[in-house]
């Protein structure tokens, strides 16, 4: 099994083995669904008139599908850079608790601040979800390289998918390119549900879905911000009340 041919360099005992195992793990079902979703994003940016390299750069650099989508949507509806960035930063708040919850799993005593910042950069829904699911079974030293391999695999695949979606959007028959554009919303909705823990977050999904179209008629520019704050706060209040009742009972 492990008979390495003699002309190859001996496998380094350090980080490279778990890194490549992680990279291979990027080709799992959640990874493939993510690639499909980025194909949809690429097609959407074609629709919005983005050059293909801007679309690819946004995936490499921003690396958060909701933020990219919020950016594209805001710019397309006429927002300036400041307003679009504000909407992006609001959509990205949820990255903070994700980083906070995964870092204690990934790091060991020797993990430097730089390595922690690097790992945090790769935190996005799919990498976070798969990282939290797979790394606790590994020994502590292997977790960080495994996660970096996984995340880099996801970034590379998603960037290729973005480019492919952008290129395909102009060439595909209408039915298929409409299908590509429809991928993102259903993927987001289902992965929100998949990642939701507890009553409050499920309620937040429901309130978000219902409130957004209502609030959009009142405040079209900051509708997502208000939807998040109002919907999230109501969900939070109900969740807390339910908890108190349970602990009182």
């Amino acid at each position: 099994m492990d008979a390495t041919p003699s002309h190859e360099a001996p496998a380094p005992a350090g980080a490279s083995r778990p890194f490549w195992r992680g990279a291979r793990a990027a080709l799992s079902t959640p990874g493939l669904v993510l690639f499909g979703s980025f194909t949809g994003f690429g097609a959407m940016t074609h629709d919005f008139g983005w050059p293909i390299w801007i679309a690819a750069l946004s995936t490499v650099l921003i690396w958060a599908a909701p933020a990219q989508l919020v950016l594209a949507g805001a710019l397309a509806s006429g927002a300036g850079i400041a307003a679009a960035s504000l909407a992006v930063t609001i959509s990205a708040v949820r990255l903070l608790p994700m980083v906070v919850s995964i870092l204690p799993v990934l790091r060991s005593d020797r993990t430097s601040l730089g390595a922690r910042l690097l790992a945090a950069h790769y935190v996005a829904v799919t990498a976070w979800f798969e990282g939290l699911r797979r790394t606790p079974a590994l020994d502590r030293e292997s977790r960080m390289p495994f996660f970096l391999g996984l995340a880099n695999g996801l970034v590379v695949g998603s960037t290729i998918a973005t480019v492919a979606g952008h290129a395909a959007a102009g060439l595909l028959p209408a039915a298929l390119s409409i299908g590509l554009l429809g991928l993102t919303p259903i993927y987001f909705l289902l992965s929100l549900e998949r990642g939701a823990s507890g009553l409050g977050e499920r309620l937040a999904i429901g309130f978000g879905l219902v409130l957004a179209p209502l609030i959009a008629t009142v405040s079209p520019r900051f509708d997502l911000l208000w939807t998040g704050i109002i919907g999230g706060t109501i969900a939070f209040a109900i969740d807390r009340a339910a908890r108190r009742r349970r602990s009182a009972a």
């Binding site: 493939l32 669904v33 499909g36 959407m44 629709d47 919005f48 801007i54 921003i62 690396w63 958060a64 933020a67 990219q68 989508l69 950016l71 679009a84 960035s85 609001i90 708040v93 949820r94 990255l95 903070l96 608790p97 980083v99 906070v100 919850s101 870092l103 601040l113 910042l117 945090a120 950069h121 935190v123 959007a169 209408a174 039915a175 298929l176 409409i178 299908g179 554009l181 429809g182 993102t184 919303p185 259903i186 909705l189 289902l190 929100l192 977050e201 309130f207 957004a212 179209p213 509708d223 997502l224 911000l225 939807t227 998040g228 109002i230 919907g231 999230g232 706060t233 969900a235 939070f236």
Partner: protein, 113 residues
């Protein structure tokens, strides 16, 4: 919808990178101190969840661009098919997304687009 020039888009992407990355960096700084089971985090997560769900509703109800070529009932119906398949398939993301896609593409073909 006015197409933007590449320089404007490049600036917008870089600004969005910083707007996005700041929360990751803050997460690193705070991860040593903040309680991830605390009420503040629970609230932040719920606000973010509602915001992204709101984005989904907007994308389906009032899409800009090609997705609008599919009629509203088909956009909602295919999402419904996806949710049903996801629920019946023991919360399988792949199954839900695939079912919604098949419904959407077949629907568009049937309408003769």
């Amino acid at each position: 919808m006015t197409p933007h020039d590449a320089g404007f888009l490049l600036l917008a992407v870089i600004a969005a990178f910083f707007a996005n990355e700041i929360w990751r960096a803050l997460g690193v700084v705070l991860s040593a101190r903040l309680d991830e089971d605390g009420a503040l985090f629970a609230w932040v997560r719920m606000v973010a969840t509602a915001l992204v769900a709101g984005l989904v509703a907007k994308l389906v109800l009032s899409p800009s661009g090609g997705f609008a070529l599919a009629p509203l009932w088909l956009r909602l119906g295919s999402a419904g098919v996806g949710i049903a398949a996801y629920t019946l398939g023991r919360r399988s993301l792949a199954l839900g997304v695939a079912a919604a896609e098949v419904a959407l593409v077949l629907g568009v073909v049937a309408l003769g687009a």
